[in-house]
Amino acid sequence: MSSHASKVDPKKAELWDTHHHSHDVISTRTLGYFLYLLSDGMLFATLFAAYGVLSYQHSYFGGPTPADFVKPWYTFAQTIALFLSVLSYGFAMNALKHKNKSGLINGMLAAFVLGVLFLILDIHDMSHLAALGITIATSGGMSAFIVLTQVHAAHIFFGLIWILVMMTQVMVKGFTEEVVGRLLTLRMFWHLQAIIWVFVYVFVYLWGYIS
């Protein structure tokens, strides 16, 4: 790196830095993944906007509205299952901090089981609606409701697969830089699902119930 730019011969100048710099791989990847998660947040913004404009009375075309079928305490149980799953993953990351592999695996296993419980409750809820004849084709309002809630459930589904993959990688590969970085990005992903769920629960389920 020349300190006098005017003396550089353009025909001989090196245009790239050949020296090796130590590079914080984990931080670079987690920031990149965080930006990706924010764009995932924009996906939810469009779905919330669609639900907002399709939750008027005429949007339901005279058919059922969330006020007819939402059971707040049932969905509250889903909320607690997801929050406990997120808490378990947090405890797993605390075990990682102390290099406690069995603590990490136990925490991730608890997060997985509670995430499965959330998904079972969601599938049971959706099949209950289907049994009542309420499907995605019932009305525009129901399309927006089901798409928004099930896109969130799809995030949980893929997160559960990711938890299983990371449990395997921790057991096979141990605490390498790649595995620790992936555990951190999975932590962001899993915790963001709880944050999105707060919006889904309050502004779709609870508000739908009182509208």
Binding site: I26, L35, T65, A67, M93
Partner: protein, 150 residues
Amino acid sequence: MSHGAADPTMHPEVQMSTSKGYFLGFAISAFLMLVATFLVTSHSVPPFGLLMVISVCAGIAVIAQIYFLLHIDISEHNIWNTVALVLFIPLFLITIGLTWWMFSQLYLRTMDMSAMSRMNMGTAVHSTANPSSSSMENMPNMHMTADAAQ
């Protein structure tokens, strides 16, 4: 962002985890969701006030989760995550807010809401879509006043 690269578990993003922080994030958000659910099911607050209260509950729960779970703060290590999130929030709100505003104005100017309601109640187009009356025991007539709340 200087730290020993030899042991990845010593990375600051691993070391910033605390069980107390994760538990606080859980406890605060779970309590606020409990309050919101209780208020909604008890029918003790009028709808508009109820919407305000549950919105505040959601706002505090989200802030607590962002702080305690995502570790968003102004420390040197996290500042770029925080900047990205702060710049993201207006995009998120504008996307939802402007879309909702545009369509609410459109409906206001193009539709006769009262005629729409009468038409929908008169013609049972989706009779198979209506749930049985037993499933509607909670608030059987609420859907007829939904546009008043919007």
